[in-house]
Each structure stands twice: as structure tokens, then as C-alpha cells.
């Protein structure tokens, strides 16, 4: 047998196996890996949005849909006083709920992160416990608390603080805000907790070393460095609450009705999908703008304390 030269694996770069070259690259592999959830997300998220947007340019013609392009739905959505008022109220409620939730959630997250010690996990677990019951159940329990003959009123009556039940506790905007703020608390606590956990404690020691007391330390170090968490928490709470129609329905009374209730009516009883779609798209755009404005405002606020 002839002594053969040792065969070395030459030409390792380039086309080794078949298949498109793009899929061999890091980027290609990345796309390949995320493609199932990506497809899923596109189908279930982008798809419906396209359907909604196209519908918003059409017209309901009794039982059929007239598919000629029109902006009439938007004109109605943006100019009719009823929709404008509902949209403004929804924005007011969702922005208020977001800020109230974050302001109430921040101390909780701060406590768990700074003083939770070995029991951090347990604390987080306890915080999520109420969320094991259904959404409806939590709203209804607020109805029990705030109702005319509810826990709060009977408690105050029993203590003699009031002579007759307060009738302004429920079926108004306040009740909607209270209920929503409670419903979304955990969703605000978690991102705030994460951002507080990421905060390097030696930065707080450095601030103390440089002469800052607790309040200044919080304003100059903790607050700006946890701003991403605050923004995340605000958006996580604000965006879905704009579209909530169950809570206003159950505890909002006629003063607590929000834009989502109107949209629901258009897609349901009124059976005017194009108008409902236009309302939904307008809401989406306006909420995005408001959210963007809030983010910019908070980032500006962050530069203020230095």
C-alpha cells in the first residue's frame, strides 16, 4: 500500500454542508431559533391588527360591509362628543391608575428588595397570591368592599364615623381607579423589584459617603437608576387599563364608562365593526402618543436631580 499523506480537514470555511448559506451564520441561526414564536406572534398579533385597520376604512351597510375606502369612521370617532369624552376619560383613568399603582407599588418593591433578606422569594410569592383568583372575582370583591351596604360603609357605620352609608364610594370613576390600581399592583411591583435588585448597593453607600442623607440618596441615585423599571411599570399598567371594559362595567356605573365599553358595543350590539375598528385604532394611536410623552417627561425628570 502506498503511504498516503495525512488528510487534513481543508477548506473548513465556506460551504461545508448543503442548505442556504444564510442559515449557517449566527444571525441566520438566530432567526431560525425564534421563527416559531415569531410566526405565532405575527399571526396572532399583527394579523388581527391588520384586520382591524382595514375594517376601519370600510363602512357597515346594514348586514354587509361596504369595502370602499372612507375616513368617515375616523371622523366620527374623533369628532363625536361622546367618543371624545370617553377617550379623554379613559386616558385620565389609565394614566391616573398607572401613577397611583406605581406610587403604591414602589415602596412594596423597595421593601422586598432592600429588606426582604432571605425571604425575598416568599414575599414575591405572597404578592402574587391574590392573582390566583380570577380577575372578575377581584373586581367583585371590590364591589363588596365599596358597595352601598358594603364592608367599608357598614364598618364606618358601626364605628359611628358616618350616620348613613356613603353613596359616592362605588359606581363612579374613583371606584374604577381603585379597583384597577389593585388589579395591576403585582404587574407594577415585579418590574420595579427587578430594577431595584439590579441597583448596585455600593452606589448608595458612595452617595452617603459623599454627604447625602436618605432622601437625597433616593432622589439622586435610586430614582434615576430605577427609572427604566418605573417606566416599564407605568406602561405595563397604563396600556392595558385603557382598554379595560369589565371593571368600568362592574364598578363604574354610568359615570365610569370608558372607551373600551363603546368599542365593545360597536363590535357587539351595535354591530358596526368599521366604527369600532376606527375607535380602536384611534385609541391605540393616542395611547401610544401619551405613553411616549410620559416616557420623555420621566427621562427629563431624571436629568433634573443630579
Amino acid at each position: 500500500m502506498q503511504p498516503s499523506a495525512p488528510t487534513l480537514p481543508v477548506e473548513r470555511s465556506g460551504r461545508r454542508t448543503g442548505g442556504p448559506r444564510f442559515l449557517q451564520t449566527e444571525t441566520g441561526k438566530g432567526w431560525l431559533t425564534i421563527s416559531p414564536p415569531l410566526l405565532y406572534a405575527v399571526l396572532l398579533l399583527i394579523g388581527p391588527i391588520i384586520v382591524i385597520i382595514t375594517h376601519s376604512f370600510w363602512t357597515q351597510d346594514y348586514l354587509t360591509i361596504d369595502r370602499t375606502f372612507t375616513l368617515d369612521n375616523y371622523k366620527a370617532a374623533l369628532t363625536e362628543p361622546i367618543y371624545r369624552d370617553l377617550l379623554l376619560r379613559s386616558l385620565f383613568v389609565s394614566v391616573t391608575v398607572a401613577f397611583v399603582t406605581v406610587i403604591l407599588a414602589y415602596p412594596v418593591a423597595w421593601f422586598v428588595s432592600f429588606h426582604g433578606g432571605r425571604y425575598k422569594g416568599l414575599w414575591l410569592f405572597i404578592i402574587t397570591v391574590p392573582f390566583w383568583s380570577g380577575y372578575l372575582l377581584r373586581i367583585l370583591s371590590w364591589k363588596v368592599i365599596l358597595g352601598y351596604k358594603g364592608v367599608l360603609n357598614s364598618g364606618l357605620l358601626y364605628l359611628g364615623v358616618i350616620a348613613e352609608p356613603l353613596n359616592w364610594l362605588i359606581y363612579n370613576v374613583n371606584a374604577v381607579i381603585i379597583t384597577l390600581a389593585h388589579s395591576w399592583a403585582a404587574f407594577a411591583i415585579l418590574p420595579l423589584f427587578v430594577s431595584l435588585e439590579k441597583l448596585d448597593r455600593s452606589l448608595l453607600e458612595a452617595a452617603a459617603d459623599l454627604g447625602d442623607g436618605p432622601v437625597r440618596r433616593f432622589l439622586r441615585v435610586t430614582l434615576p437608576l430605577t427609572m427604566p423599571g418605573i417606566i416599564a411599570a407605568l406602561l405595563i399598567v397604563m396600556i392595558p387599563t385603557v382598554g379595560d371594559y369589565v371593571t368600568p362595567r362592574l364598578v363604574g356605573g354610568k359615570d365610569g364608562v370608558m372607551i373600551a365599553n363603546a368599542i365593545q358595543v360597536q363590535f357587539g350590539k351595535a354591530s358596526n365593526w368599521p366604527l369600532g375598528a376606527a375607535l380602536a385604532v384611534s385609541t391605540m394611536i393616542i395611547v401610544s402618543l401619551v405613553a411616549g410623552a410620559i416616557v420623555l417627561m420621566l427621562l427629563g425628570l431624571k436629568r433634573l436631580f443630579k
Binding site: 455600593s202 453607600e205 452617603a208 459617603d209 437608576l225
Partner: protein, 362 residues
């Protein structure tokens, strides 16, 4: 040391449950002194530094700064500033803002504040880096910013928690020199925590060597190296040959002993008290042992067999066995005469400096 004490540490204890992190520490640190706390990790040196800064509280005992008890005084009200081991540079602020952080509260006025920041930037050689963000700095730059941020507060005492341990070797050597110069120039008290013996030796006016929560010795670097109080101190600072001895006799300020295989030796106690002579041990530094080359005449000749040889570039370390001595001895020789070519296993003749023997508490 200088006349007036800046920091007094009086009977300071710290316990975590049953664990004594610090055990009855006493020390006085002078004004304008460069004082180092040296010891292995876990010896309590950082805890002591943090207590001086106000980040930890003693379980008992007290710390005085400038004659004032610091009991219950939080870090923000103490005349100390700290350079943290992690540097703790504020990532959301740029270099100038980091340095100005503590000045803001003093309300110096914009001009004075900017002037001080500019001066500090020059002092740590970072001019021009002012607008760079805190999270875009290299290790050395972060270290300098941390230093400037503390110095700009004009503290009475600067606390440095292993400030150089994160830097690479060359930068570390350079910063050691710079820190020393800076300290002489501004003349305030520096307290440095380090586990690096050479750092402590080269920078400090005095060193406190700590082991498991206790101070083993406080002295100037030369004294610590040449006359370590205990075996532990000697071992931690450079190499030390511990010798087997018999007939150890201590009288007044001298000691005599017979070292098997080496001979009869004597030495000074150098002001040390040996409380328990039965546990005392005699040692000699490796550089105080020499090889006797052929044709050379010398006193105190000892025959030794080379067991191992380690080459370090400018010097060679030889490990030799001497009959009668339980442990191997180590010799450090420069390579001028060919110490790096001595074969392992060969017999050589060595000698010692007659005055180089040290007696230590075991």
C-alpha cells in the same frame, strides 16, 4: 508618626452571632499619616475600614475621629471619604457630575464648584474626560474618578478599600507611586486596606497586620519586614525560613541558640517581648542566606543540598536541605554568578549574615 492623633480606635469589637469578626482592636492613626490595614481576606480589615467610614457599627468600643466620638454618626456626617473597592461610579452621571456629586450639597456656587472639579480632574490626570459617562470608563479611569470624587470633598481622612486590586500589574505599580505622591502633597490621613504585602510596604508610613479579627502588629514597613512580631506576620510578609533550634536562651535584649547543621547563633530581641520562650521560633529571610562560590572565603559555612530551583528572571530561588534542619530552607540569589545554573541535587556551600536571625513568637 505625627504628634496629634486623627483616628483613635478604642477596644472595638464586632460580632456576627457567635463569630467574632473583630476582637478588641486598639490603634491610633496620626494626622497626615499613610496607614495600611494588611491581612488575608476575611481578617476583618475591610470591616474596620467600613466602621471608620460609618458603614458598619462596632458591637462595642468606639472610634474617634479628630477627637470626636463617631458613635451613631452616619457616613454622610463624617469627615471621611471613601474610595470603594468596586469604585461605585454613578453610571447615570458623567465624570464631571460624578466628581461634583458631593459638592452639590455644599452649595459652593457654580464657579467654585466647576473650579474644584477642574482641579480634581487635573490632579488625577483625567482632564478632557469630564463629559464621558460613568459607565464608559476603563478600570484605571474609574479608579481615578473615584479618587477625585472623594478628594474633592477635602476630607480629613481618605479611606481606600483595596483600590488597586482591580487594576493590571503595571497600572497598579504606577498608581501606587501616584497615590503616595498625592498623599504627601495634600497631607491628609490615608487609610488603605490591602491584602498585597508589597503595596503596604511600599506605600505606608505604618502598617497594621491583621489576622482573624486581631491586630498582630502595628509598625512601620521596615520594622514589620525586618522584625516581625509573630510567625504569622513573618510568613505573610515575604518568605521566611523557620529554623529548628535547641538550647534557646533569652537574656535581657539578646538571645542565643544552637541551630542543628548551622551552628551557634545569637541575635537581638530588638525591643520585642517574648512572653513564652518555649514556643518562640528563630527565622532568617531568604535574601540573608548566600551561596559561597568557589575561591571565595567566608565565615559561617554551611553545607546544603539543592532540592529545587525556581527561576524568576532577575533572581533565582533555591530550595535547599540542611542536615539537622527539619524544614527546607529557601535562598534568593541574584543571577550574576550563575545561581540559575546550579543543578538540582548538587551540594553547595552557603553562608548567612550573622546579625540576620530573628526571634518570633510562634
Amino acid at each position: 508618626m505625627t504628634a496629634s492623633p486623627m483616628i483613635e480606635i478604642r477596644n472595638v469589637d464586632k460580632s456576627f452571632g457567635n463569630f467574632k469578626a473583630l476582637d478588641t482592636l486598639n490603634a491610633t492613626i496620626g494626622e497626615g499619616e499613610f496607614f495600611s490595614l494588611l491581612g488575608p481576606s476575611g481578617c476583618g480589615k475591610t470591616t474596620l475600614l467600613r466602621m471608620i467610614g460609618g458603614f458598619d457599627t462596632p458591637s462595642s468600643g468606639e472610634i474617634l475621629i479628630g477627637g470626636r466620638s463617631m458613635d451613631g454618626i452616619p457616613p454622610n456626617l463624617r469627615p471621611t471619604n471613601m474610595v470603594f473597592q468596586s469604585y461605585a461610579i454613578f453610571p447615570h452621571l458623567n465624570v464631571s457630575e460624578n466628581i461634583a456629586y458631593g459638592l452639590k450639597r455644599l452649595k459652593l456656587g457654580r464657579e467654585e464648584e466647576e473650579k474644584r472639579v477642574r482641579e480634581a480632574l487635573v490632579q488625577v490626570e483625567l482632564s478632557g474626560l469630564g463629559p464621558r459617562m460613568g459607565n464608559q470608563l476603563s478600570g484605571g479611569q474609574r479608579q481615578r474618578v473615584a479618587l477625585a470624587r472623594a478628594l474633592v470633598m477635602r476630607p480629613k481622612v481618605l479611606l481606600l478599600d483595596e483600590p488597586l486590586s482591580a487594576l493590571d500589574k503595571n497600572l497598579r505599580a504606577q498608581m501606587q507611586v501616584e497615590l503616595r505622591h498625592l498623599q504627601r502633597q495634600i497631607g491628609i490621613t490615608f487609610i488603605l486596606v490591602t491584602h498585597d504585602q508589597y503595596e503596604a510596604l511600599s506605600m505606608s508610613d505604618r502598617i497594621a497586620v491583621m489576622f482573624s479579627g486581631q491586630i498582630a502588629q502595628i509598625a512601620d514597613p521596615k520594622e514589620i519586614y525586618q522584625n516581625p512580631a509573630t510567625r504569622q506576620v513573618a510568613d505573610f510578609l515575604g518568605g521566611m525560613n523557620f529554623l529548628t533550634s535547641s538550647q534557646l536562651a533569652i537574656d535581657g535584649r539578646h538571645f542565643n541558640a544552637v541551630l542543628p547543621g548551622i551552628g551557634e547563633i545569637s541575635g537581638h530581641l530588638a525591643g520585642k517581648e517574648i512572653s513564652d520562650p518555649s514556643s518562640a521560633i528563630i527565622g532568617i529571610r531568604p535574601e540573608r542566606l548566600r551561596i559561597v562560590w568557589e575561591g571565595e572565603t567566608a565565615e559561617h559555612l554551611v553545607t546544603a543540598r539543592v532540592v529545587d530551583r525556581n527561576y524568576f528572571g532577575e533572581v533565582t530561588s533555591l530550595v535547599v536541605g540542611v542536615e539537622g534542619q527539619a524544614g527546607h530552607l529557601s535562598i534568593v540569589e541574584t543571577n550574576d554568578f550563575g545561581a540559575d545554573d546550579i543543578p538540582v541535587g548538587s551540594d553547595i556551600t552557603i553562608t548567612y549574615d550573622g546579625d540576620a536571625f530573628i526571634i518570633m513568637q510562634g
